[in-house]
Structures are given as C-alpha cells and as structure tokens.
Amino acid sequence: GESVGLHLPTLSVQEGDNSIINCAYSNSASDYFIWYKQESGKGPQFIIDIRSNMDKRQGQRVTVLLNKTVKHLSLQIAATQPGDSAVYFCAGTNTDKLIFGTGTRLQVFP
C-alpha cells in the first residue's frame, strides 16, 4: 500500500545547530504534505505544509523542501533549540486521506 515514512528514528543535534529531518513517500500522486511536531504527552502540532506545485516553503526557523523526482521531503530547523525536542512526522495525501509517517525523535543537547 501507499506509505509515508521517515529515514531515521532518532536524530541528536547540538543546541544552535541546524536540524534536517527526512521523509520519503511512495505515492507519486500525493500533492499535499504536512510536517507535525509532537511533544511528549501532547497531540501533534502543525508546523508547516507544502503543495506539490512548490519545491520549497519557509516558515519561522523552519523550511520544508520537496523533491518530487525522488519522492522525498525534508524539514530543516535553523538554530535548533531545546524546545524543539519532540517527535516530528510528515503526512502526505493518498487520494482523499492523509497518511502519516512513524516519526523521528529529535533530541537537542547543550
């Protein structure tokens, strides 16, 4: 079936460094993608989204890159802070549903 997944279960970065979290998807027809942040004990929180007619979108300290050729998207977090520690997962459309990846845990150390 269609899938959306992440490359690494855990990513450790030093405070102040940039973080890059990756996601791959299998459905070439997917046209909308979302990145969510989930802190321990909380619900997923919307971070940023991107449609397939774009290859880059920027928010506050975050950038999402979409490469439709290799069906890959990434979330870049600039100047990572301790408050960025969480599980990040991507979601992509599959016809009329959103399919969620399993997540990457971002650990920020001083």
């Binding site: 919307f46 997962f89 969620f100």
Partner: protein
Amino acid sequence: IAGITQAPTSQILAAGRRMTLRCTQDMRHNAMYWYRQDLGLGLRLIHYSNTAGTTGKGEVPDGYSVSRANTDDFPLTLASAVPSQTSVYFCASSDSGSTDTQYFGPGTRLTVL
C-alpha cells in the same frame, strides 16, 4: 478559543466494557477524524466525518463506531473493549476534506485490561 478538546484524558477499562471517548471542536470545521497512535505504527485513521450527519470508515474501523449529530461533536465508541484497543486516541478536525490541514486534540490514553 480552545480548539479541540478530548475527554477523558486517560482511562483504564476492563475488557468487555463499553466506552465513549468525547471530542469537541469550536473552530466550526466541517471534517473530523479519530486516530489511534501506537508505538512504531504512527497515526492510523479509525473513522472520519466530512460533514455533520455523515461518517466513513478509515484504516482500522473494526470495534469502533462514531456519530456526527452536529458540527462540533464527534464521539468515538468502543462497544466491547478488548486489550488490543489499548492505545492513545487523537481526535482531529479540518476546515474541509482530509487533504486540508488537520488540527489535533490533546489525546486520550486508554488502557484495556
């Protein structure tokens, strides 16, 4: 504006018991969803509702039922709970269809013994 609220926050339930998880949104979103989140499996869609009065089955609907009597409320019922339904349940809503941005509630942690 509260967004999405869920109740209870957590619950321990004996197998075979009936349980209803509540979800209310105040954003006047048309679509609402129920997901379960299990370690290593990500979020899986249980049921959804594109608009008040309509519901549909998601990826893992067995053992669950929903109703959508109005725009704001979308309760999830386990008619006879089983241990495999131990999970964290999230309710979400979106302005239009499921390809629109979905906003999540804080979750209900359910343990079935």
